[in-house]
């Protein structure tokens, strides 16, 4: 691992300073430093419209958003794959790239719109999620080789969620029972809950904002199943999954008379801690529900 792997990085809105998954970016940065991954941020990137922008934006304006990011990446980092850490960013960008490739109407429309911003796109880039980089370019053995403080004795439920998993997913994995998150837990010395049956259930996504009661009905079984399996914490690759399963636990407790208080972390949190980084570098201070077992190791 002498030469650094470089990627054109699309961080996305929720990773910005003072935003809901700024802690994700902190731990991703630490993880990548340890794994010799260099992320070159796309200068002047914009929002992808996530999965809720469709109603206000419509088809062409929404796809144009991702086209602009791809065009900027082509200009700034011509040889590098685009990598996103947010599931919605990845999905929207990859979906846009595919739609532009498949439809002449969309291709022409985005082309005309991009010209207004002085841009053009070739659309010849691969759009990847960070977990694909870890699984395909780095590999579990290389991850294990970097572990200084194995997460021994910590039982972790891998909550893959929806958009990192469908419709694209990770090559070679099934939609219904993907294994890569469990493999990552094992690679850093933790104990994965391989029969976590809620691993690909929906948390409600953006509807946790607009339809909280309906969404809480979806989040509760995800937490319940992790507890039933004796998990110490949940790990996820998605900012919306993380937020929905962590920050509403007291509201869910109030609604259902439960007593959930289970930490929900990112894969990058686990790796940063296992690679020997500080609690601050792993963004453990970004946990609304403290991950005490990780705090102890990171000290």
């Amino acid at each position: 691992m002498s030469d650094k792997k470089e990627y054109s990085f699309y961080p996305g809105c929720s990773s910005q300073s003072g935003a809901s998954s700024s802690n994700y970016l902190t731990s991703v940065t630490s993880m990548c430093e340890e794994l010799d991954i260099k992320l070159n941020t796309i200068d002047d990137w914009n929002c992808c419209a996530a999965s809720i922008g469709y109603a206000g934006g419509g088809e062409l304006p929404r796809i144009s958003l991702s086209a602009r990011n791809i065009a900027l990446s082509e200009q700034q980092h011509p040889q590098q794959d685009i990598v996103a850490t947010c599931a919605a960013c990845w999905l929207a960008t990859r979906e846009a790239s595919e739609r532009i490739a498949q439809s002449t109407k969309i291709k022409e429309g985005t082309g005309v719109a991009l010209k207004e911003a002085g841009l053009e796109m070739k659309n010849d880039k691969k759009i990847r999620h960070m977990v694909e980089v870890l699984v395909e370019d780095i590999g579990m053995d290389a991850i294990t080789a970097k572990v200084k403080k194995p997460l021994e004795g910590i039982k972790i439920a891998g909550y893959v969620g929806c958009q990192t998993n469908r419709p694209f997913g990770i090559h070679g994995e099934s939609f219904e029972n993907p294994q890569y998150l469990d493999n990552m837990v094992a690679a850093v010395g933790g104990e994965p809950v391989r029969d976590y049956e809620k691993k690909v259930s929906c948390c409600g996504g953006a509807l946790a904002f607009s339809e909280p009661d309906k969404s809480f009905n979806l989040i509760k079984p995800i937490l319940e199943s992790a507890m039933d399996h004796g998990a110490d914490m949940i790990v996820t690759p998605c900012p919306v999954c993380q937020m929905n399963t962590e920050v509403y636990q007291d509201k869910i407790n109030a609604k259902f008379g439960t007593s959930f208080n289970i930490p929900v972390v990112y894969y990058s949190t686990l790796m940063s801690v296992a690679f020997g980084r500080s609690a601050k570098d792993a963004a453990l201070d970004g946990q609304v529900i403290q991950a005490e077992k990780l705090n102890k190791i990171a000290k």
Binding site: S14, S17, S51, G56, L65, L218
Partner: protein
């Protein structure tokens, strides 16, 4: 009824399927539905849909224009992509639901007070302003989307949540005075304006 809605309804009189094919995102794939019901059984919001996607597809073919476009069914979509992943015919069901919702909104047919329709518009307006989402302003506008009195109540109910987000630096008060933005705002706005014009022009042309 908006003028555009009336014009389109008259233009496609008796052929709602054709209207969907011409004007709704990936609407051409509606024809491919074989009514197996896997989408209906796979949807996490299943209990809350007035009409499941399977039913919506059949209603489109049965010319139930008002019942489809005025329904709040499409607004139940969480974008989990279960239906897309499982559909044996690989219909882009999620996209078609988004497309129907967006089309209904364009024609002013969305049920009043539909919370996801409101939130989706707030989200788009928020990101379109500066090119990046301002989560603080989005949160505040969400709380107050049903009026001031209701907003205060919701905001009070979420006080602890807000404090937790502030404490962990996952929310920032200074976003209220500006916040994150793209640098090339004029280019960004010109691009969105052009894309919106192209899309509107295509649908208006179909109404004539």
């Amino acid at each position: 009824m908006s003028d555009l809605n009336q014009a389109l309804a008259e233009k496609y009189q008796g052929n709602f399927l054709k209207e969907v094919i011409d004007n709704v995102e990936e609407g051409d794939m509606v024809r491919m539905c074989m009514q197996c019901g896997v989408c209906a059984g796979s949807c996490p919001m299943g209990p809350h849909w007035e009409h499941t996607p399977q039913k919506i597809f059949m209603m489109i073919r049965a010319n139930k224009r008002d019942e489809v476009l005025q329904s709040d069914s499409m607004w139940m979509c969480t974008s989990c992509y279960n239906c897309i992943a499982r559909c044996p015919r690989e219909l882009p069901i999620t996209h078609i639901m988004h497309g129907l919702a967006s089309y209904a909104k364009r024609l002013n047919l969305v049920p009043k007070e539909q919370p996801t329709a409101k939130f989706a518009q707030l989200f788009w307006d928020n990101l379109a302003k500066k090119g990046r989402v301002n989560e603080l302003k989005l949160g505040i506008s969400l709380y107050f989307m049903n009026g001031f009195g209701e907003g205060i109540k919701v905001a009070m109910g979420n006080q602890k949540l807000g404090m937790n987000m502030l404490k962990t630096k996952r929310m920032a008060i200074n976003e209220a005075w500006g916040g994150h933005s793209v640098k090339d705002k004029s280019g960004f706005h010109a691009m969105l304006k052009k894309a919106a014009e192209l899309e509107s022009a295509a649908i208006e042309a179909h109404s004539k």
